[in-house]
Homo-oligomer: 256 residues x 2
């Protein structure tokens, strides 16, 4: 059995997330497995590094699968891009050691959450950014973010109810970058904020709950210091709202 | 009667172009007129500065309409953005002199045509850029563009068969800018070219035929010098192919 590693991009808007589900065939993993099974005549299972939620996008998702095939890497890549829907693309495909596992071998991930401050609708960014009407205090959000960087129990920042597994993770950095988007630059209208999260791994909904909480700090609904109390409490209800899926993109998965 | 000037943005993908048509209500002008007629209880006609084709986008379309209404500018703007589909937005709306006409008073326009060089599908740019597999020779395209800048009879660069009106226009500049798109920068994969056209006015299909012709120069299928002959011939069949609509965006309309 050969093992193939893929770099994938997708716009999550139309899908029920990455993970295959019994109730729907409308998942990214499902679409890829169906295509590869058809291509090889075998039942193919794909391992994805990150299980992105419904509506979340990826610029650098990594996945691998085992298959018995004589096809070259190039042939597989071209076959897949020919038959995949236009909102999913295979950017590269390489044969790797049989022991490579995209999720278990991953040592880190980077996510980006895009927020646009505007009172007007955003025609061109509407699928890929969360638009907020209120002006945000970036300095306050940066101060709040510092409480989250480092190794912590992020139990208060996940929606996962199954309580057995460790909820300790290391957030290496949170960068809050201010941009002016090209589409608005001409009108001098608004600014965009990109929250960049680098960590060793992320819990279910973790990036979106952290972002939702930081946005409440940015809107002066909470004080930066509250973050320490929320972390210590371990209570989901103390943290902020879940930020909408469409603003989130998996940028990259890192390996040793 | 009050006269209102609007700045509009839209993603043209789903529409049959700007101009109202008898055969379909799926045009930008049609959607706007229907909404304003409903809002005012009067039959409203809109004048748009540029009649963008089906699939062409706008970041800075300008349009005006006359209406008998007591509503404030802000009320009209908010009403429109509440009821317009999410791929059309009113960015600003101001009452202007009764004699202002968005098309007749316009002194210039700027269009941008985006081309991406890549052998891979482009998930995030698929609606707004034309993807070409072949690497393009930007220097050759710049040389070719110089033959087009200035005041010329652009008859060879329009699809319009009705031959009465003047086909003389002034192209103030063609800038060919090379970018690396954010989505691909991480993978170091491809480059993007933006053709910026500034002129006093543009004929039907003019920007797309010029772009299609420049792309043939960039792919070394034609020599830059041929442009002079094509211009002089006045024959549409001598020019290059019509570039796809989705790469084109109306960036701005200029007034004195």
């Amino acid at each position: 059995m050969r093992n193939f590693r893929m770099l994938l991009q997708y716009e999550g808007t139309r899908y029920q997330g990455w993970q295959r589900q019994e109730s729907t065939d409308n998942t990214i993993q499902g679409k890829l497995e169906m295509l590869l099974s058809k291509m090889t005549g075998q039942k193919i299972e794909i391992q994805g590094a990150g299980r992105t939620d419904a509506g979340v996008h990826a610029l650098g998702q990594v996945a691998n699968f085992h298959a018995d095939t004589q096809m070259t890497e190039k042939e597989i890549l071209e076959y897949m891009n020919r038959y995949l829907p236009e909102d999913i693309a295979v950017i590269s495909l390489k044969e790797v050691s049989e022991r490579f596992h995209s999720r278990l071998n991953a040592t880190g991930k980077t996510y980006c959450y895009r927020v646009i401050h505007s009172e007007l609708p955003h025609v061109f960014d509407r699928r890929h950014a969360h638009v907020v009407e209120q002006k945000l205090d970036v300095r306050a959000m940066e101060e709040a973010a510092q409480y989250l960087v480092g190794t912590h129990d992020f139990k208060a920042f996940t929606s996962n109810k199954r309580g057995k597994k460790s909820t300790v993770r290391t957030l290496e950095s949170i960068q809050i970058e201010e941009h002016v988007s090209a589409s608005m630059q001409m009108q001098g209208l608004q600014d965009e904020i990109c929250f960049l999260y680098r960590g060793d791994g992320f819990l279910y909904h973790m990036v979106r709950i952290i972002t939702g909480t930081l946005l409440e700090v940015g809107a002066h609904k909470r004080k930066p210091e509250e973050i320490a109390e929320i972390l210590a409490s371990g209570l989901r209800e103390r943290a902020g709202e879940l930020a909408p899926a469409k603003g989130l993109t998996l940028l990259e998965v890192r390996y040793q």
